[in-house]
Symmetry: C2
Subunit: 118 residues, 2 copies
């Protein structure tokens, strides 16, 4: 059985935000993001995949489209496919989030390539 204990996987890097895969699944990303105060993920969008961010520790400022909100531990936000989003640890304590993206962005890309006319 593929069992993980999330607290065993958490590590921070003073250089930049960390993206720590919990499992290697062909169907989704299921990752921990760890951000020290001031660290961020720049604006980005997955064209075909939904992204759901669940704050496990600390606080995170999340921007979706033009809107921003600070999420605290236990709060979750959905970023619908195609929407530009960003996150920043604007607080004074480390932050950890569980980020799920589905379908797996690379698989969506492969499907698109297969559909292209030759």
């Amino acid at each position: 059985m593929q069992i993980r204990t999330l607290s065993d996987l958490v590590r921070f890097d003073p250089e930049k935000k960390q993206k720590i895969p919990v499992f290697d699944s062909p169907h989704m990303y299921y990752d921990l993001y760890t951000l020290l105060p001031g660290q961020l993920q720049r604006p980005f969008a997955f064209k075909k995949a939904d992204k759901i961010v669940y704050v496990l520790q600390g606080r995170l400022r999340i921007t979706v489209g033009g809107e921003s909100a600070e999420l605290r531990e236990g709060q979750v936000v959905r970023v619908p496919a195609g929407q530009v989003n960003a996150m920043e640890n604007a607080a004074d304590e480390p932050a950890v989030a569980l980020v799920v993206v589905a379908p797996h962005p690379e698989c969506a890309e492969r499907r698109k390539q297969r559909k292209r006319p030759k």
Copy 2:
């Protein structure tokens, strides 16, 4: 922005396990499962979708294929597509899990139907 506070959604039912959708996404299930002591989910498999179970509160006995393990708060297990799995609250306290299934099982089913020869 679609923001949820997970603790606001948690409810238990003495009749049976509850499955509480956190978001309505076309790409995945992202649900809370709540189980009082003795409650369970019978063996079941998604043919085309991975399922990841994260224990948020209490303990859950998870079976994948022929193997079983009791997961505690903070532990996560991946059920690869096609594998029969079950869960039971065999402990003496309420249990809450976050269950993600991707791709969305109904979408996988629709794709299959479109591919069928007429």
